[in-house]
Amino acid sequence: MDVRRTARETRLLYTRHLRTTLRSKVGVVFGVLQPLLYLLLFGPLLTRLSGVRGFGDHDAWQVFVPGVLVQLVLFSAAYVGFGLIADLRAGVVDRLRVTPVSRVALLLGLVLRDTTVLAVQAVLLLAAGVAMGLRAPAAGLAVGVALVVLLAVGVASLSYLLALVTRREDGFAPLLGAVVLPLMLLSGMLLPMSMAPGWLDVASHFTPFRYVVDAVRAAFVGDYASVTVAEGAAVTAVLVVVSVALGTRRFLRENA
């Protein structure tokens, strides 16, 4: 594979997709709206929980904002497949697949656009968090955003993979609903899983997001060098590699 050519093609497609996104700015705002509402309307409830057994004695915002960040990935990056289904229907995907463009570039152009959008949303959300009372070391915030952005690469790739498999909104939407909600609840985004009964805690360890949420929380309280952060980073990295590989393979396959 010619890396330079692939990079050039990825950049071309990235620019095109980003321009399309910027054409409808509302999309970026709506994507961040749901996590923002959780922050504004649910977060304040948690400030009363500090000191409750299992919640830990950290500041409630240090526990909650990482959860909302990962939730943003689920609510924003998981839904990017809808755009691809629209492109499939308009024939755009076939038109691009007939060109000699590298199949990796076809996926990465999209995914990097989504990641850019998500990074902007994450910063917006953090700013709102700080306004609500979040206090965390700058390095911790940076590690947190980096993890979340990386996670978005994996989640967006999986979303495109599912979109290419289902090919229609009425297949994609229910599937997404069935996957996103349990993943969100099991990850301990809203309340830390350390509060959970044993069986739930065990179950949550089978979902990747649990590790990422815990890692971002650890970063926000300043435990950068902890096992928790390393675990979260490792899980995210594996997710990214596997999902990008699967997504590319799907684009390579004949009837993608």
Partner: protein
């Protein structure tokens, strides 16, 4: 330009396997406009998607634009253009951006000049800033074609290029397609289920039905070879008429008074002519299928005259491609397409 042999594709669905294309052999020479004709579901689009690298064949081999389809898909992609049935322009993206991206993806040198030239030829000037969704149907189709031609491919595939266009836009698009062959020597492989389109535009036609090529040739060859011309005769003497309960005169061979009727004499006379392939009698009219009707007609008239059969009217119709389709597949393309 295209050599395919035994190209086949089966799909596995929940209900079992569907053989969409069952072994297609075809050959297209450089500079030809070849029409791929068949009803919806016959396997046209599936074949096209295989030839354009979008779908891997389950069997068979093909060389497209000089590259092997299975081993060198990238080589094929560089040398072909493809315009899908529904087009490929994103609705919200301005025309100019779409063309520019397409040119960059193919690494076209001197992009601006190439795009300007294409737009001039395909009547797209002044539309570069408009999103594709704001174009008329005909403009939209010409944009799709421009996207497929931006890298000057020697071979272009058009899937149902004029479906959904009004007659004026359709004729206009035919002109563009002819010009791209005449001026640039581009080989064109197009699918259609419009007979008049295949007839007006194509040098050669392949007819596909149920996943197999069932006939091929120039429009004239197909019409001649497959159905012959249709000659309809109106007889002055339609006797003998059938009597209730009795065998019809045509079957009995003789009239009610032992006198041979006009229909029977006409049949006997026509049976002598080798050009007449088939004769169907309905009341006083006789419908003949004859080879090369223009040459056969005088002989038919002479033979009937000699047999003492009086004619009141005589019509000849050249077969349409629909007749061809009817003869080959046993159903009308218009019905099959509906």
């Amino acid at each position: 330009m295209i050599e395919a042999s035994g190209l086949a594709r089966t799909f596995t669905t929940r209900r079992g396997t569907v053989e969409a294309v069952r072994g297609v052999d075809l050959s297209v020479a450089p500079g030809e406009i070849v029409g791929f004709l068949g009803p919806n579901g016959a396997g046209k689009t599936t074949t096209l998607r295989m030839l354009t690298t979008l779908l891997a064949p389950t069997a068979g081999t093909a060389t497209v634009a000089g590259h092997d389809l299975r081993t060198d898909a990238a080589g094929v992609r560089r040398r072909i253009g493809y315009v899908a049935q529904g087009g490929g322009a994103a609705p919200a993206v301005p025309v100019g951006e779409e063309l520019d991206l397409q040119a960059r993806l193919y690494g076209v040198p001197d992009r601006a000049a190439r795009i300007a030239d294409l737009c001039a030829r395909l009547e797209l000037e002044g539309l570069l800033d408009r999103p594709a969704q704001a174009l008329s149907g005909g403009q939209r189709r010409r944009l799709d074609i421009a996207l497929g031609l931006v890298h000057r491919p020697p071979l272009v595939f058009l899937d149902e290029p004029t479906t959904g266009l009004d007659p004026h836009s359709r004729g206009n698009l035919w002109e563009h397609i002819r010009r791209m062959r005449d001026e640039d020597g581009t080989t064109v492989f197009l699918t259609t289920h419009y007979l008049e389109e295949a007839d007006a535009l194509c040098d050669r036609i392949l007819i596909i039905d149920h996943g197999r090529i069932v006939a091929e040739g120039t429009p004239d060859e197909l019409k001649r070879r497959v159905s012959g011309d249709v000659v309809t005769l109106e007889l002055a003497d339609a006797r003998p008429a059938a009597r209730p309960g009795a065998p019809t005169a045509a079957e009995a061979g003789e009239g009610p008074h032992g006198q041979v009727g006009g229909v029977v004499r006409a049949r006997a006379a026509l049976a002598e002519l080798p050009q007449v392939r088939e004769a169907v009698v309905t009341g006083s009219s006789v419908r003949l299928t004859v080879d090369q009707g223009d040459l056969a007609l005088p002989q038919v008239v002479r033979a009937l005259d000699a047999a003492g059969v009086e004619l009141t009217a005589l019509r000849m119709a050249r077969p349409t491609l629909d007749d061809v389709f009817l003869t080959i597949t046993g159903r009308s393309l218009r019905d099959a397409a509906a």
